[in-house]
Protein backbone atom coordinates (compact mmCIF):
# COMPACT_ATOMS: atom_id res chain seq x y z
CA UNK A 1 0.00 0.00 0.00
CA UNK A 2 2.71 2.47 0.99
CA UNK A 3 4.51 1.82 -2.28
CA UNK A 4 1.43 1.88 -4.43
CA UNK A 5 0.48 5.46 -3.60
CA UNK A 6 3.54 7.27 -5.04
CA UNK A 7 3.51 5.00 -8.07
CA UNK A 8 -0.11 5.95 -8.68
CA UNK A 9 0.92 9.59 -8.45
CA UNK A 10 3.70 9.15 -10.99
CA UNK A 11 1.30 7.44 -13.35
CA UNK A 12 -1.22 10.29 -13.28
CA UNK A 13 1.45 12.95 -13.63
CA UNK A 14 2.79 11.27 -16.74
CA UNK A 15 -0.67 10.97 -18.16
CA UNK A 16 -1.30 14.63 -17.32
CA UNK A 17 1.68 15.63 -19.43
CA UNK A 18 0.70 13.23 -22.19
CA UNK A 19 -2.91 14.34 -22.34
CA UNK A 20 -1.96 17.99 -22.03
CA UNK A 21 0.22 17.62 -25.07
CA UNK A 22 -2.51 15.62 -26.80
CA UNK A 23 -4.96 18.51 -26.42
CA UNK A 24 -2.31 20.98 -27.54
CA UNK A 25 -0.88 18.90 -30.37
CA UNK A 26 -3.19 20.00 -33.21
CA UNK A 27 -2.32 23.65 -32.54
CA UNK A 28 1.36 22.92 -31.95
CA UNK A 29 1.68 20.92 -35.18
CA UNK A 30 -0.03 23.56 -37.29
CA UNK A 31 1.95 26.40 -35.71
CA UNK A 32 5.08 24.37 -36.42
CA UNK A 33 4.24 23.72 -40.06
CA UNK A 34 2.67 27.05 -41.03
CA UNK A 35 4.38 29.52 -38.73
CA UNK A 36 7.66 28.42 -37.14
CA UNK A 37 9.04 26.51 -40.12
CA UNK A 38 8.18 29.18 -42.73
CA UNK A 39 9.57 31.92 -40.47
CA UNK A 40 12.89 30.09 -40.10
CA UNK A 41 12.83 29.23 -43.80
CA UNK A 42 12.29 32.91 -44.67
CA UNK A 43 15.26 33.93 -42.55
CA UNK A 44 17.35 31.17 -44.17
CA UNK A 45 16.31 32.11 -47.73
CA UNK A 46 17.14 35.75 -47.09
CA UNK A 47 20.83 34.73 -47.15
CA UNK A 48 20.61 32.89 -50.48
CA UNK A 49 20.20 33.48 -54.16
CA UNK A 50 17.34 31.21 -55.24
CA UNK A 51 15.70 29.95 -58.41
CA UNK A 52 12.15 30.99 -59.30
CA UNK A 53 10.76 28.12 -57.20
CA UNK A 54 12.50 29.34 -54.05
CA UNK A 55 15.19 26.62 -54.08
CA UNK A 56 18.38 28.11 -52.62
CA UNK A 57 21.24 28.17 -55.17
CA UNK A 58 24.17 29.90 -53.51
CA UNK A 59 24.91 31.62 -50.23
CA UNK A 60 25.17 35.39 -50.53
CA UNK A 61 25.47 36.31 -46.85
CA UNK A 62 23.91 39.66 -46.09
CA UNK A 63 24.02 40.51 -49.81
CA UNK A 64 20.26 40.92 -50.16
CA UNK A 65 20.16 43.19 -47.12
CA UNK A 66 23.02 45.41 -48.29
CA UNK A 67 21.44 45.58 -51.76
CA UNK A 68 18.17 46.68 -50.17
CA UNK A 69 19.74 49.38 -48.09
CA UNK A 70 21.43 50.86 -51.13
CA UNK A 71 18.38 50.49 -53.40
CA UNK A 72 16.26 53.56 -54.11
CA UNK A 73 13.23 51.32 -54.69
CA UNK A 74 13.48 49.86 -51.17
CA UNK A 75 13.74 53.30 -49.56
CA UNK A 76 10.80 54.36 -51.68
CA UNK A 77 8.75 51.47 -50.27
CA UNK A 78 9.83 52.36 -46.72
CA UNK A 79 8.81 55.96 -47.41
CA UNK A 80 5.45 54.83 -48.80
CA UNK A 81 4.87 52.56 -45.79
CA UNK A 82 5.74 55.24 -43.24
CA UNK A 83 3.69 57.82 -45.14
CA UNK A 84 0.76 55.43 -45.25
CA UNK A 85 1.05 54.74 -41.51
CA UNK A 86 1.16 58.45 -40.68
CA UNK A 87 -1.77 59.25 -42.95
CA UNK A 88 -4.01 56.44 -41.70
CA UNK A 89 -3.34 55.59 -38.04
CA UNK A 90 -3.80 58.94 -36.25
CA UNK A 91 -6.79 59.96 -38.37
CA UNK A 92 -8.54 56.59 -37.94
CA UNK A 93 -8.14 56.68 -34.17
CA UNK A 94 -9.24 60.31 -33.92
CA UNK A 95 -12.42 59.78 -35.98
CA UNK A 96 -13.22 56.46 -34.30
CA UNK A 97 -12.77 58.07 -30.87
CA UNK A 98 -15.14 60.88 -31.82
CA UNK A 99 -17.71 58.37 -33.04
CA UNK A 100 -17.29 56.21 -29.94
CA UNK A 101 -17.84 59.23 -27.65
CA UNK A 102 -21.00 60.11 -29.58
CA UNK A 103 -22.24 56.52 -29.57
CA UNK A 104 -21.59 56.20 -25.86
CA UNK A 105 -24.27 58.79 -25.05
CA UNK A 106 -27.35 57.33 -23.39
CA UNK A 107 -29.91 58.27 -26.03
CA UNK A 108 -32.87 56.62 -27.65
CA UNK A 109 -31.99 54.64 -30.77
CA UNK A 110 -28.25 54.77 -30.04
CA UNK A 111 -27.97 51.06 -30.95
CA UNK A 112 -28.68 51.87 -34.58
CA UNK A 113 -25.78 54.33 -34.69
CA UNK A 114 -23.46 51.83 -33.01
CA UNK A 115 -24.34 49.31 -35.70
CA UNK A 116 -23.80 51.83 -38.50
CA UNK A 117 -20.44 53.01 -37.17
CA UNK A 118 -19.12 49.47 -36.85
CA UNK A 119 -20.37 48.45 -40.31
CA UNK A 120 -17.05 48.71 -42.12
CA UNK A 121 -15.69 45.96 -39.90
CA UNK A 122 -17.94 43.56 -41.81
CA UNK A 123 -16.73 44.80 -45.19
CA UNK A 124 -13.85 43.13 -46.94
CA UNK A 125 -10.90 45.12 -48.19
CA UNK A 126 -11.69 43.93 -51.72
CA UNK A 127 -15.33 45.07 -51.69
CA UNK A 128 -14.48 48.39 -50.06
CA UNK A 129 -11.63 49.02 -52.48
CA UNK A 130 -13.89 48.43 -55.48
CA UNK A 131 -16.38 50.97 -54.14
CA UNK A 132 -13.64 53.55 -53.56
CA UNK A 133 -12.17 52.81 -56.97
CA UNK A 134 -15.48 53.87 -58.44
CA UNK A 135 -15.72 56.97 -56.25
CA UNK A 136 -12.21 57.96 -57.39
CA UNK A 137 -13.06 57.36 -61.07
CA UNK A 138 -11.85 60.53 -62.86
CA UNK A 139 -14.90 60.92 -65.11
CA UNK A 140 -17.91 59.41 -63.32
CA UNK A 141 -16.78 59.14 -59.69
CA UNK A 142 -18.44 61.22 -56.99
CA UNK A 143 -15.29 63.14 -56.00
CA UNK A 144 -14.58 64.64 -59.39
CA UNK A 145 -18.25 65.25 -60.09
CA UNK A 146 -18.36 67.23 -56.86
CA UNK A 147 -15.22 69.18 -57.80
CA UNK A 148 -16.69 69.95 -61.21
CA UNK A 149 -19.96 71.02 -59.64
CA UNK A 150 -18.16 73.64 -57.54
CA UNK A 151 -16.14 74.76 -60.56
CA UNK A 152 -12.81 73.14 -59.70
CA UNK A 153 -10.98 70.87 -62.11
CA UNK A 154 -10.98 67.12 -61.53
CA UNK A 155 -8.08 65.22 -59.99
CA UNK A 156 -6.49 61.95 -61.11
CA UNK A 157 -6.90 60.56 -57.61
CA UNK A 158 -5.15 57.23 -58.14
CA UNK A 159 -2.89 58.08 -61.09
CA UNK A 160 -1.29 61.29 -59.86
CA UNK A 161 1.81 60.51 -57.73
CA UNK A 162 0.92 63.52 -55.57
CA UNK A 163 -2.51 62.22 -54.66
CA UNK A 164 -2.30 58.41 -54.91
CA UNK A 165 -1.02 57.67 -51.40
CA UNK A 166 -3.44 60.16 -49.90
CA UNK A 167 -6.37 58.63 -51.81
CA UNK A 168 -5.51 55.08 -50.76
CA UNK A 169 -5.05 56.27 -47.17
CA UNK A 170 -8.42 58.01 -47.09
CA UNK A 171 -10.15 54.84 -48.31
CA UNK A 172 -8.23 52.86 -45.67
CA UNK A 173 -9.27 55.20 -42.86
CA UNK A 174 -12.90 54.54 -43.78
CA UNK A 175 -12.31 50.77 -43.91
CA UNK A 176 -10.61 50.70 -40.48
CA UNK A 177 -13.01 52.92 -38.58
CA UNK A 178 -15.47 50.07 -37.86
CA UNK A 179 -13.01 47.89 -35.97
CA UNK A 180 -11.34 50.79 -34.13
CA UNK A 181 -14.72 52.22 -33.16
CA UNK A 182 -15.90 48.90 -31.74
CA UNK A 183 -12.81 48.51 -29.53
CA UNK A 184 -12.91 52.11 -28.31
CA UNK A 185 -16.63 51.91 -27.53
CA UNK A 186 -15.93 48.78 -25.49
CA UNK A 187 -13.22 50.69 -23.63
CA UNK A 188 -15.58 53.59 -22.90
CA UNK A 189 -18.25 51.26 -21.60
CA UNK A 190 -15.75 49.70 -19.19
CA UNK A 191 -15.10 53.01 -17.44
CA UNK A 192 -16.60 53.08 -13.96
CA UNK A 193 -19.85 55.14 -14.12
CA UNK A 194 -19.47 56.37 -10.56
CA UNK A 195 -16.49 58.52 -11.61
CA UNK A 196 -18.84 60.55 -13.81
CA UNK A 197 -21.55 60.66 -11.18
CA UNK A 198 -19.26 62.29 -8.64
CA UNK A 199 -17.95 64.66 -11.31
CA UNK A 200 -21.55 65.60 -12.16
CA UNK A 201 -22.24 66.35 -8.52
CA UNK A 202 -19.14 68.56 -8.43
CA UNK A 203 -20.58 70.34 -11.47
CA UNK A 204 -17.66 69.86 -13.86
CA UNK A 205 -18.28 70.38 -17.58
CA UNK A 206 -18.36 67.68 -20.28
CA UNK A 207 -14.99 68.75 -21.68
CA UNK A 208 -13.32 68.76 -18.27
CA UNK A 209 -14.68 65.25 -17.63
CA UNK A 210 -13.42 64.17 -21.04
CA UNK A 211 -9.93 65.45 -20.26
CA UNK A 212 -9.78 64.42 -16.60
CA UNK A 213 -11.67 61.11 -16.60
CA UNK A 214 -12.43 59.68 -20.03
CA UNK A 215 -9.09 60.03 -21.81
CA UNK A 216 -6.92 58.84 -18.88
CA UNK A 217 -9.23 55.89 -18.16
CA UNK A 218 -9.35 55.02 -21.87
CA UNK A 219 -5.59 55.30 -22.36
CA UNK A 220 -4.83 51.55 -22.17
CA UNK A 221 -7.47 50.89 -24.83
CA UNK A 222 -6.23 53.79 -26.94
CA UNK A 223 -2.75 52.41 -26.67
CA UNK A 224 -3.94 48.95 -27.68
CA UNK A 225 -5.75 50.20 -30.79
CA UNK A 226 -2.75 52.37 -31.59
CA UNK A 227 -0.39 49.41 -31.69
CA UNK A 228 -2.87 47.13 -33.49
CA UNK A 229 -3.54 49.84 -36.10
CA UNK A 230 0.17 50.40 -36.55
CA UNK A 231 0.83 46.70 -37.08
CA UNK A 232 -2.15 46.41 -39.45
CA UNK A 233 -0.94 49.42 -41.43
CA UNK A 234 2.44 47.74 -41.88
CA UNK A 235 0.65 44.68 -43.29
CA UNK A 236 -1.53 46.54 -45.81
CA UNK A 237 -1.91 44.81 -49.14
CA UNK A 238 -5.43 44.46 -50.57
CA UNK A 239 -6.31 48.10 -51.21
CA UNK A 240 -2.90 48.69 -52.82
CA UNK A 241 -3.33 45.71 -55.13
CA UNK A 242 -6.82 46.78 -56.17
CA UNK A 243 -6.49 50.56 -56.31
CA UNK A 244 -2.96 51.35 -57.50
CA UNK A 245 -0.84 48.19 -57.90
CA UNK A 246 1.90 50.04 -56.02
CA UNK A 247 1.97 52.85 -58.59
CA UNK A 248 2.13 55.52 -59.86
CA UNK A 249 5.95 55.50 -59.95
CA UNK A 250 5.98 53.31 -56.81
CA UNK A 251 4.31 56.08 -54.77
CA UNK A 252 2.10 53.49 -53.03
CA UNK A 253 4.49 50.51 -53.14
CA UNK A 254 4.20 49.67 -49.42
CA UNK A 255 6.39 46.96 -47.93
CA UNK A 256 4.02 43.97 -48.16
CA UNK A 257 3.18 44.85 -51.75
CA UNK A 258 6.91 45.08 -52.50
CA UNK A 259 7.45 41.63 -50.94
CA UNK A 260 4.58 40.19 -52.98
CA UNK A 261 5.91 41.66 -56.23
CA UNK A 262 9.46 40.49 -55.60
CA UNK A 263 8.43 36.98 -54.66
CA UNK A 264 5.50 36.23 -56.95
CA UNK A 265 5.99 38.49 -59.97
CA UNK A 266 9.77 39.00 -60.24
CA UNK A 267 10.58 35.59 -58.65
CA UNK A 268 13.31 37.21 -56.58
CA UNK A 269 12.64 35.08 -53.50
CA UNK A 270 15.87 35.90 -51.68
CA UNK A 271 15.30 39.63 -51.75
CA UNK A 272 11.61 39.19 -50.87
CA UNK A 273 12.66 37.07 -47.88
CA UNK A 274 15.09 39.74 -46.69
CA UNK A 275 12.30 42.33 -46.81
CA UNK A 276 9.97 39.92 -44.99
CA UNK A 277 12.59 39.55 -42.23
CA UNK A 278 12.78 43.33 -41.90
CA UNK A 279 8.99 43.51 -41.69
CA UNK A 280 9.05 40.84 -39.00
CA UNK A 281 11.63 42.80 -36.99
CA UNK A 282 9.56 45.99 -37.27
CA UNK A 283 6.40 44.25 -36.03
CA UNK A 284 8.38 42.52 -33.29
CA UNK A 285 9.71 45.85 -32.02
CA UNK A 286 6.22 47.36 -32.01
CA UNK A 287 4.76 44.41 -30.12
CA UNK A 288 7.63 44.49 -27.64
CA UNK A 289 6.98 48.20 -27.13
CA UNK A 290 3.35 47.42 -26.38
CA UNK A 291 4.23 44.78 -23.81
CA UNK A 292 6.72 47.13 -22.14
CA UNK A 293 4.23 49.95 -21.85
CA UNK A 294 1.39 47.69 -20.72
CA UNK A 295 3.70 46.31 -18.06
CA UNK A 296 4.37 49.84 -16.84
CA UNK A 297 0.64 50.53 -16.74
CA UNK A 298 0.13 47.42 -14.59
CA UNK A 299 2.85 48.57 -12.18
CA UNK A 300 1.04 51.87 -11.75
CA UNK A 301 -2.10 50.28 -10.39
Amino acid sequence: MTVALPREKVRTRLSDAASGLLYLSPSIILFGVFLVYPLLRTIYLSFFRTDSQGTPLDFVGVGHYSNLFTSAAFWQSIQATVGFVLLTVPLTILIALGLALLANEKLKGIGIFRTVFSATMGMSVAASSVIWMFMYNPSIGIFNRFLEAVGASGVQWLLDPQYALLSVSLATVWMNIGFTFLILLGGLQNIDRTLYESADIAGTSYWTQLRAITIPMLSPTLFFVGIISLINAFQTFGQIDLLTKGGPTNATNVIVYAIYKDAFINYNVGSASAQAVLLFIAVLLLTWLQFKLVERKVHYQ
Partner: protein, 269 residues
Protein backbone atom coordinates in the same frame (compact mmCIF):
# COMPACT_ATOMS: atom_id res chain seq x y z
CA UNK B 1 -29.89 69.60 -21.65
CA UNK B 2 -32.55 69.14 -24.33
CA UNK B 3 -30.52 71.34 -26.68
CA UNK B 4 -27.40 69.28 -26.05
CA UNK B 5 -29.20 66.07 -27.01
CA UNK B 6 -30.36 67.63 -30.25
CA UNK B 7 -26.76 68.59 -30.97
CA UNK B 8 -25.61 65.02 -30.32
CA UNK B 9 -28.32 63.64 -32.60
CA UNK B 10 -27.31 66.03 -35.39
CA UNK B 11 -23.68 64.90 -35.10
CA UNK B 12 -24.72 61.24 -34.95
CA UNK B 13 -26.86 61.53 -38.07
CA UNK B 14 -24.21 63.46 -40.01
CA UNK B 15 -21.56 60.87 -39.11
CA UNK B 16 -23.88 58.02 -40.02
CA UNK B 17 -24.57 59.57 -43.43
CA UNK B 18 -20.85 59.96 -44.16
CA UNK B 19 -20.01 56.43 -42.95
CA UNK B 20 -22.84 54.81 -44.87
CA UNK B 21 -22.45 56.85 -48.03
CA UNK B 22 -20.03 54.55 -49.89
CA UNK B 23 -22.23 51.50 -49.18
CA UNK B 24 -25.43 53.29 -50.16
CA UNK B 25 -23.74 54.67 -53.27
CA UNK B 26 -22.61 51.17 -54.29
CA UNK B 27 -26.13 49.85 -53.76
CA UNK B 28 -27.59 52.67 -55.83
CA UNK B 29 -25.14 52.02 -58.70
CA UNK B 30 -26.00 48.33 -58.57
CA UNK B 31 -29.59 49.20 -59.49
CA UNK B 32 -28.67 51.33 -62.52
CA UNK B 33 -28.16 50.37 -66.15
CA UNK B 34 -24.83 51.10 -67.82
CA UNK B 35 -25.94 54.32 -69.46
CA UNK B 36 -27.12 55.84 -66.21
CA UNK B 37 -23.90 54.93 -64.43
CA UNK B 38 -21.95 56.84 -67.08
CA UNK B 39 -24.18 59.87 -66.65
CA UNK B 40 -23.03 59.93 -63.04
CA UNK B 41 -26.44 59.89 -61.35
CA UNK B 42 -26.65 59.46 -57.59
CA UNK B 43 -29.96 57.61 -57.62
CA UNK B 44 -31.36 55.25 -60.26
CA UNK B 45 -34.31 56.57 -62.35
CA UNK B 46 -35.71 53.10 -62.87
CA UNK B 47 -34.18 50.76 -60.30
CA UNK B 48 -33.75 47.26 -61.67
CA UNK B 49 -32.25 44.04 -60.39
CA UNK B 50 -30.84 43.11 -63.80
CA UNK B 51 -27.25 43.61 -62.63
CA UNK B 52 -27.77 41.00 -59.93
CA UNK B 53 -29.04 38.50 -62.48
CA UNK B 54 -26.07 39.37 -64.68
CA UNK B 55 -23.67 38.85 -61.77
CA UNK B 56 -24.81 35.25 -61.53
CA UNK B 57 -25.08 34.65 -65.28
CA UNK B 58 -21.96 36.30 -66.61
CA UNK B 59 -19.52 35.31 -63.90
CA UNK B 60 -19.44 32.20 -61.71
CA UNK B 61 -20.70 34.18 -58.69
CA UNK B 62 -22.37 31.08 -57.26
CA UNK B 63 -19.10 29.14 -57.36
CA UNK B 64 -17.23 32.02 -55.70
CA UNK B 65 -19.85 32.34 -52.97
CA UNK B 66 -19.86 28.60 -52.30
CA UNK B 67 -16.07 28.45 -52.15
CA UNK B 68 -15.95 31.33 -49.70
CA UNK B 69 -18.70 29.79 -47.60
CA UNK B 70 -16.96 26.40 -47.42
CA UNK B 71 -13.57 27.91 -46.60
CA UNK B 72 -14.99 30.30 -43.97
CA UNK B 73 -16.93 27.47 -42.31
CA UNK B 74 -13.90 25.16 -42.36
CA UNK B 75 -11.66 27.79 -40.77
CA UNK B 76 -14.36 28.66 -38.25
CA UNK B 77 -14.75 25.04 -37.15
CA UNK B 78 -11.00 24.46 -37.24
CA UNK B 79 -10.21 27.52 -35.14
CA UNK B 80 -12.97 26.84 -32.61
CA UNK B 81 -11.99 23.18 -32.18
CA UNK B 82 -8.23 23.74 -31.97
CA UNK B 83 -8.50 26.84 -29.76
CA UNK B 84 -10.89 25.21 -27.30
CA UNK B 85 -8.78 22.05 -27.02
CA UNK B 86 -5.65 24.11 -26.40
CA UNK B 87 -7.38 26.46 -23.96
CA UNK B 88 -8.72 23.46 -22.04
CA UNK B 89 -5.21 22.06 -21.66
CA UNK B 90 -3.87 25.43 -20.52
CA UNK B 91 -6.55 25.84 -17.86
CA UNK B 92 -7.31 22.37 -16.54
CA UNK B 93 -4.34 20.09 -17.13
CA UNK B 94 -1.20 20.51 -15.07
CA UNK B 95 2.11 19.60 -16.62
CA UNK B 96 5.68 20.80 -16.72
CA UNK B 97 6.45 23.45 -19.32
CA UNK B 98 2.85 24.60 -19.64
CA UNK B 99 3.79 28.21 -18.91
CA UNK B 100 6.54 28.12 -21.52
CA UNK B 101 4.23 26.66 -24.18
CA UNK B 102 1.65 29.33 -23.41
CA UNK B 103 4.30 32.03 -23.85
CA UNK B 104 5.22 30.49 -27.20
CA UNK B 105 1.55 30.54 -28.24
CA UNK B 106 1.37 34.23 -27.38
CA UNK B 107 4.63 34.83 -29.24
CA UNK B 108 3.04 33.57 -32.47
CA UNK B 109 0.89 36.71 -32.45
CA UNK B 110 4.06 38.73 -33.04
CA UNK B 111 4.76 37.10 -36.39
CA UNK B 112 3.20 39.05 -39.25
CA UNK B 113 1.64 36.43 -41.45
CA UNK B 114 3.01 38.10 -44.59
CA UNK B 115 6.57 37.40 -43.43
CA UNK B 116 5.90 33.67 -43.81
CA UNK B 117 3.86 33.65 -47.01
CA UNK B 118 6.57 32.56 -49.45
CA UNK B 119 7.54 29.28 -47.71
CA UNK B 120 3.85 28.70 -46.90
CA UNK B 121 3.00 29.00 -50.57
CA UNK B 122 5.74 26.49 -51.41
CA UNK B 123 4.45 24.12 -48.70
CA UNK B 124 0.89 24.27 -50.05
CA UNK B 125 2.22 23.75 -53.57
CA UNK B 126 4.20 20.67 -52.57
CA UNK B 127 1.17 19.28 -50.73
CA UNK B 128 -0.79 19.62 -53.98
CA UNK B 129 -3.23 21.95 -52.22
CA UNK B 130 -3.19 24.83 -54.70
CA UNK B 131 -6.76 25.56 -55.84
CA UNK B 132 -8.21 23.42 -53.03
CA UNK B 133 -10.25 24.38 -49.99
CA UNK B 134 -7.59 22.72 -47.79
CA UNK B 135 -4.88 25.06 -48.97
CA UNK B 136 -7.19 27.97 -48.26
CA UNK B 137 -8.17 26.85 -44.77
CA UNK B 138 -5.78 24.49 -42.95
CA UNK B 139 -2.91 27.01 -42.50
CA UNK B 140 -5.24 29.17 -40.39
CA UNK B 141 -6.66 26.53 -38.03
CA UNK B 142 -4.27 27.26 -35.14
CA UNK B 143 -5.05 30.66 -33.62
CA UNK B 144 -3.35 32.16 -30.57
CA UNK B 145 -5.97 34.89 -30.18
CA UNK B 146 -8.75 32.26 -30.07
CA UNK B 147 -6.88 30.15 -27.53
CA UNK B 148 -6.29 33.22 -25.40
CA UNK B 149 -9.92 34.36 -25.60
CA UNK B 150 -11.28 30.93 -24.58
CA UNK B 151 -8.66 30.49 -21.87
CA UNK B 152 -9.96 33.66 -20.20
CA UNK B 153 -13.46 32.16 -20.17
CA UNK B 154 -12.44 28.65 -19.08
CA UNK B 155 -10.58 30.17 -16.13
CA UNK B 156 -13.92 31.34 -14.71
CA UNK B 157 -15.10 27.72 -14.36
CA UNK B 158 -14.39 26.57 -10.76
CA UNK B 159 -11.39 24.24 -10.72
CA UNK B 160 -13.13 22.24 -7.95
CA UNK B 161 -15.68 21.11 -10.51
CA UNK B 162 -12.90 19.61 -12.56
CA UNK B 163 -11.37 17.93 -9.52
CA UNK B 164 -14.73 16.54 -8.49
CA UNK B 165 -15.30 15.14 -11.95
CA UNK B 166 -11.84 13.53 -11.84
CA UNK B 167 -12.60 11.89 -8.50
CA UNK B 168 -15.95 10.70 -9.85
CA UNK B 169 -13.98 9.01 -12.62
CA UNK B 170 -15.38 11.15 -15.42
CA UNK B 171 -12.96 11.33 -18.31
CA UNK B 172 -11.29 14.62 -19.19
CA UNK B 173 -12.86 14.71 -22.58
CA UNK B 174 -16.35 14.16 -21.13
CA UNK B 175 -15.79 17.08 -18.74
CA UNK B 176 -14.56 19.20 -21.62
CA UNK B 177 -17.50 18.25 -23.85
CA UNK B 178 -20.34 18.16 -21.29
CA UNK B 179 -19.34 20.92 -18.87
CA UNK B 180 -16.73 23.31 -20.28
CA UNK B 181 -18.12 23.83 -23.77
CA UNK B 182 -21.82 24.28 -22.82
CA UNK B 183 -21.05 27.00 -20.24
CA UNK B 184 -18.77 28.84 -22.68
CA UNK B 185 -21.30 29.52 -25.42
CA UNK B 186 -20.75 33.30 -25.50
CA UNK B 187 -17.00 33.30 -26.21
CA UNK B 188 -17.44 30.38 -28.61
CA UNK B 189 -19.95 32.44 -30.57
CA UNK B 190 -17.62 35.46 -30.45
CA UNK B 191 -14.75 33.41 -31.81
CA UNK B 192 -16.95 31.86 -34.51
CA UNK B 193 -18.14 35.26 -35.73
CA UNK B 194 -14.58 36.58 -35.70
CA UNK B 195 -13.27 33.54 -37.61
CA UNK B 196 -15.97 33.64 -40.24
CA UNK B 197 -15.62 37.39 -40.82
CA UNK B 198 -11.85 37.39 -41.16
CA UNK B 199 -11.77 34.31 -43.39
CA UNK B 200 -14.59 35.43 -45.68
CA UNK B 201 -12.76 38.74 -46.13
CA UNK B 202 -9.29 37.28 -46.64
CA UNK B 203 -7.55 38.57 -49.73
CA UNK B 204 -3.80 37.99 -50.08
CA UNK B 205 -3.66 34.26 -49.34
CA UNK B 206 -6.52 33.25 -51.70
CA UNK B 207 -4.87 35.43 -54.35
CA UNK B 208 -1.69 33.36 -54.00
CA UNK B 209 -3.11 29.84 -53.82
CA UNK B 210 -5.96 29.98 -56.34
CA UNK B 211 -5.72 30.55 -60.06
CA UNK B 212 -8.77 28.80 -61.54
CA UNK B 213 -12.37 30.03 -61.76
CA UNK B 214 -13.47 26.86 -59.95
CA UNK B 215 -11.32 27.53 -56.89
CA UNK B 216 -11.58 31.30 -56.44
CA UNK B 217 -13.22 32.91 -53.44
CA UNK B 218 -15.54 35.93 -53.73
CA UNK B 219 -12.80 38.42 -52.86
CA UNK B 220 -10.60 37.24 -55.72
CA UNK B 221 -13.64 36.92 -57.94
CA UNK B 222 -14.41 40.59 -57.48
CA UNK B 223 -10.81 41.51 -58.26
CA UNK B 224 -11.05 39.50 -61.49
CA UNK B 225 -14.31 41.20 -62.35
CA UNK B 226 -13.05 44.69 -61.69
CA UNK B 227 -9.95 44.21 -63.80
CA UNK B 228 -11.79 42.50 -66.69
CA UNK B 229 -14.97 44.52 -66.97
CA UNK B 230 -15.22 47.59 -69.15
CA UNK B 231 -16.43 50.83 -67.61
CA UNK B 232 -20.07 50.38 -68.60
CA UNK B 233 -20.37 47.28 -66.44
CA UNK B 234 -19.85 49.04 -63.11
CA UNK B 235 -23.46 48.18 -62.24
CA UNK B 236 -22.70 44.45 -62.35
CA UNK B 237 -19.51 44.94 -60.36
CA UNK B 238 -21.42 46.83 -57.66
CA UNK B 239 -24.11 44.15 -57.60
CA UNK B 240 -21.36 41.63 -56.88
CA UNK B 241 -19.95 43.91 -54.16
CA UNK B 242 -23.35 44.08 -52.47
CA UNK B 243 -23.75 40.30 -52.74
CA UNK B 244 -20.41 39.60 -51.06
CA UNK B 245 -20.83 42.08 -48.19
CA UNK B 246 -24.35 40.97 -47.20
CA UNK B 247 -23.33 37.76 -45.37
CA UNK B 248 -20.64 39.47 -43.30
CA UNK B 249 -22.74 42.55 -42.54
CA UNK B 250 -25.62 40.38 -41.32
CA UNK B 251 -23.22 38.35 -39.20
CA UNK B 252 -21.57 41.48 -37.82
CA UNK B 253 -24.87 43.06 -36.84
CA UNK B 254 -26.09 39.85 -35.22
CA UNK B 255 -22.86 39.22 -33.34
CA UNK B 256 -21.83 42.82 -32.69
CA UNK B 257 -22.35 42.76 -28.95
CA UNK B 258 -20.44 39.50 -28.49
CA UNK B 259 -17.68 40.65 -30.79
CA UNK B 260 -17.23 43.94 -29.00
CA UNK B 261 -16.97 42.24 -25.61
CA UNK B 262 -14.59 39.58 -26.88
CA UNK B 263 -12.30 41.99 -28.67
CA UNK B 264 -12.29 44.43 -25.75
CA UNK B 265 -11.36 41.60 -23.44
CA UNK B 266 -8.30 41.05 -25.61
CA UNK B 267 -7.51 44.73 -25.22
CA UNK B 268 -7.93 44.97 -21.46
CA UNK B 269 -6.46 41.72 -20.23
Amino acid sequence: MRLRNIGVYVLLILSAVVMLFPIAYAFSISLMDGKEVLQGHLLPREPSLENYVAAFERIPMMTYLLNSLIVALLVMVGQVVLSSLAAFAFVFIDFKGKGLIFMLFLATMMVPWEATMVPNFLTIQSLGWLNSVWGLSVPFFALAFGTFLLRQQFKTIPYEMYEASQIAGISRFRFFWNVVLPVSKTPLVTLSVYSFLTTWNMYLWPLLVTNTEQARTVQIGIKQMQSNEVASDWGVVMAAVILIIIPTLVLLFAGQKHLQEGLTQGAIK
